[in-house]
Each structure stands twice: as structure tokens, then as C-alpha cells.
Symmetry: C2
Subunit: 363 residues, 2 copies
Amino acid sequence: MIKSKGYVAQHSFTALKPMEFEREEPKENEIALEVMYCGVCHSDIHQVKNEWHNTVYPCMPGHEVVGRVTSVGACVTRHGVGDIVGVGCMIDSCRECAPCKEGAENYCEGPNSWLATYNGPMIPAKKATTGTNMYGRDNTFGGYSTTLVVAEDFALKIPEGLKPAQAAPLLCAGVTTYSPMKHWGVGPGKTVAILGFGGLGNIAQKIAKAMGAEVVVFTTHQAKVNEAPVVGAYAVDVEDDDAMARYANTFDFILSTIPKKTDLTPFVPMLKRDGTMTIVGALEPLEPFNNMEVAAHRRSIAGSLIGSIAETEEVLAFCAEHGIAPDIETISIEEINEAYDKVEDGEVRYRYVIDMASLKGAE
Amino acid sequence: MIKSKGYVAQHSFTALKPMEFEREEPKENEIALEVMYCGVCHSDIHQVKNEWHNTVYPCMPGHEVVGRVTSVGACVTRHGVGDIVGVGCMIDSCRECAPCKEGAENYCEGPNSWLATYNGPMIPAKKATTGTNMYGRDNTFGGYSTTLVVAEDFALKIPEGLKPAQAAPLLCAGVTTYSPMKHWGVGPGKTVAILGFGGLGNIAQKIAKAMGAEVVVFTTHQAKVNEAPVVGAYAVDVEDDDAMARYANTFDFILSTIPKKTDLTPFVPMLKRDGTMTIVGALEPLEPFNNMEVAAHRRSIAGSLIGSIAETEEVLAFCAEHGIAPDIETISIEEINEAYDKVEDGEVRYRYVIDMASLKGAE
């Protein structure tokens, strides 16, 4: 067993606090990591606060993990001790369903879907038809910890051109925005709107521009509009009616990264004919759309869930190649509860990344 | 001027009654028709009852028109006197925007969009920025009449293999379902669900099968489930929970022809990964969707609006070639108000078509 320390929520209404625990040694196809950095995703907050009504406590979040390999199972060939690797939202999948065989593990249709890095598997044993689940556990502990154990093929090498702390948000925020933009053909000659200017919006607009598209970010934060040029973005305040009106029939693709249910109807008329609005931020019932506006130009409203392992590898390589990276603020683990408040208030610029060295000494 | 007779609603709350009126003689690129048959579309009822809040009265519905050419303008080359032709939802469009030039007139982005066969143009003069509109009129009178005048290229020859009365519903119901099924790739090896088993659902399931797909129709009418084999369909009662549960992750494409706002969330999990549900029946604010279900398998919810002139020509040829046609009940114009009640109650099998010879003698 691997002695470990992590930060956990014991209930939906309590602050995260340190907890000592043990992880099993890596199996033959698994590797163990010493976690160096872990990004703070808005979904960590949804999960800790049980806003998706499926949280198992204690809940140890963290699915934007960069760490150093400390040991490897007997059959591991991809990684060696000392390698710097990243782990995103998944640490395993069924490997047998059609999506898994096609390399779309994020759409795993196995009996328990993919194994989430924390609060996994997606279908808890008590809901599984057999009463147990294929992964043998109802809850996994994520990257807000000193260690992580993961199937070797769910860990990706961090390219040399990326700083480990900045690579962390690519494992979720990066691939969650890269995957749909690739799928819906973002590229040269395309116009793209990014809704929401948090951790996902920040990296999404960089990726979209690096893909060759014209990009406009929409935000409710006037301060972020003013600061946008600092991070290479052009942003519009959604309360600026004149600006909003200018964008009718403008975008081939709109990516909504807004992390909660929001009335997106003002953005539908901004889609060109045959344009698609894909919603990755809000995994919950949406505000209603008016099909008169959707049908009038054969528009689509779609959803997309994180990205595959291959796409995670791609987005890491893509960002290294294009010299782009998330804008982050590094924090210590003791600052995590305050950081959650700031994420909810839109005060972070643009992603908090926990320096996990701070956890070793934390009480 | 062409002396004409038609059936009109004077208000949203009154029955349709006969009215005498005159149409202008066809301009150089237009043709005049003697209307033989006109289908009764659920949108006629929406429009007469002002359920889309844009009806100009008196309102003379009818956009599934088959007639005989009685005169042609000086420059007309496509049609001759005596030809049997069909006219759908549009009688003209701007002809200058990108969609018009690409042959997608149904997505016309001109200043008044396409000219609707009745209650057109879509943007009335009083709402147009100039106070007038390009078509010079706020209201057009449709096919519940003895005559129609239309731009020659918005009238399509009825193929010899189709009976004129049965061809009528193809001009709206047919092309409205054919267009999205073609666009989203319905064909051999695909599984398709048709939601709603009225005039659109009836022809949609025939077209989908003729395209080579496996097709299931969903209806709220148990009687229609029982009668489905009579029209070559396989139908499921949406209140049959066991049947509904069988179709999880089954369909590549779902076409909702349900003519009003309906909770479609039970059908989202029936879509395969990357499947699309396209809504053509309800042109209004929809019930909310749960993005957890949409995103989980990268599904899409889309809209589609009637079809282009080229697609209308295609669906006529397609049905003639495959020996399929809508199942209709022919009525006289005096039965129209009673027919509206039956359409709303789902009692029609499956489309009413008015034999317009009945109008000549109507009081």
C-alpha cells in the first residue's frame, strides 16, 4: 500500500480538509505517480457540493493531474520511473465496447462507463444491475493528493515544451474544448464564439485561434473584457446590446463553457446556417431553446463530454507545438476553499493550479 | 385580374368561410393555376389560430397545392398551359442571398426571407426596416382557393406516377421530412425513429424505409399503433414503458414531427453516440433538454425548416420512383372546419386533402 495524503470534502456543506489514506500498489498495467500539480476545475466544485446528486463521500477531487512516475507495474511499457505524465478525468474504461475499441473512451458504453479519476465509477455499484461494478469500487480519490495510481495508457507524457503546472489544465479544460472544436471542424476560415471566460474559455480561445479560426469570447464580467488583450483574446460583454446585435448569423461554431444552466437563447441567432452550438459547461437540464430560431437556419444544439485519450495526447502536443498554454495562478492546497469561492465568483485568472508540494507539509 | 374564390379565417377565433377576391395576372416569370387539390397541414391551424403570433387577417391557408396551369407570363419556359404542377410553402424568395444562390431558398437570408404561399412575406412591411418589403405585400393568399399565381421556378411538375391528390402533401409534409433525412444521412444500415404519426409521420416513415433505413414510429395514439401495419409501418405507444426502454442507444436519427411543444427528453437516450434528433413539427420554445444526456454520447438536437425547391422536386421524383405516397382522406372545402378539429385530435388517417372542385359551388 502507498501511504498518501489528500484533501477531501466529508459532506456537501463542509470545507475540504486533509486526510491520510492508502492507495493500492500499481497492478501490472498501472503506474504510481507523485502528484506535482493539480488544476482546480469547476466540476470539482459541482462534485464536492453534490450538485450532480451523485457524490460519494469522502470526496477527493482533482482530474487535471501532472506528476512524476514513482513506480510501474510488471507489464508497463509506456512510462518509466521519473517520467512526467498527465492524467485527466479518466483512469480506465471498459476497453470492450465499440467506443473504447474506436479510441473514444470518453463515450464508453461499458456496464459502468469509464472509471472517473475521482468519484468513480460513473455508475456506482449500488446502481449497477449486479450490485457490484467492473471496477470493484464506488469511489475513487483524485489528484488533490500526494499520489495517484492509474492504468498506464490513461497517463500521457507531458511534452518538453510545456511547463508541468501549465500542462495540468489541458488534461480536462484543454481536451474538453479541443475535442468538440476538432469534431465540428474549427479551422481556418471559421468563426467561433466561446461563451464563458473562465478556465475552459481561456484555453478554448487560444486553441481555436491556433486552429486558424476567428474567435470572439462572450463573458458577463466587464473586467474580463478589459483584460482580454492581456491573454490574447477579444471579448464582448453580453450586456452590451449593440455588440451582441452585431453578431447575428456570424458563427460557424459556438462553444458554451458556462459552468451552469444559463439562458443561451440570445446566442442561437448568432449561429450561421448549419452552425452548431455545443455545450460542455453545464451537465444538467438546460433553459429551453426556441425551435423557430433553431429550425430557421437548420442550426444544431449539441453536447460533448471531455475527450478521448488520443485527443488528450493531441491537445498536449498541439499546445506545445503552437506555444500556447493556459493562464494559471498557482496556489497552495491550504488555499483551496478560498479558491473555490473565487472560481464561483469568476475572480480567477483563469485557472487555479495547486502546487502539490504544499500538501506534504499541510496539516 | 383573376376572379377567385377562397376560404378564409377573419379572426383567430372564427371558422373558415368562403370569400371572393381577385389575384393579379401572372407577371412575366409567373404562372397561374386552377387549384385541383390542397393538403391540410397542421401549420394551417397554427396560422389560422394565430398560434405563432404573426397572422395577418383575413388568412387564407393552403401550402400543399396541386393545380393545372391556366396561363403563363411572357418569359415562362418551364411550364405550359394544361400542365399539372405542385406548389409548396414558398412562392418566391430573394434570389440574391447565399442560400438562394446555393439552391437553399428555404433558408433565404434576404430582407424578407422567402415569400410564403400564404401569410407571407415572413417579415411584414410594418416590421421591415424600410416600411415596405421586397415583395410589395404583407399577406399572401394560399391554396384553399380556386386559383394561385406563383413564380414559375417555385412550381414543380407532378411526375406521372403520382396521383395529383396524393402528391399534394408531398409539397410540405413530404419535403419537410425528406430534407432533414437526406441532410443527416438516413439510408441503408441506419436506424430511424419518427415521433408523431400524423401527416408528416405517415410519409416520413415511408420515405425513411424507401431510403433503406430501419424505422420505428412513436405515437400517443394506441389506435394508430394497431393500424400501423395497414400503412406499412411499425409503431410503438409512447406510454408502453417496456417498449420505450428497449430503444436505448438505438437510433442514428430521430425526426420529431410532433406539431406542438412536447417533452422530448424520453427520446434523447434512444439516440446512439453522435446521433441527431431533428425537430420539424414544433416551431416554438421547446421543453428543456438535459445536457447530461445530450453530452454523454455527443448527441445533437437540431431543427430543420421545410425544404428547398430542388429537394421538393427530388421528393416528388423519389416517391414516384419508389411507388410510395401519403395516405390521405379527400374532403370537400365545406368540411374544413370539422377537419381542423379532427387534425387536432389526431383522428385523420393521415392527411386531409381538399378536393378544390368543391369550392366552385360552395357558398
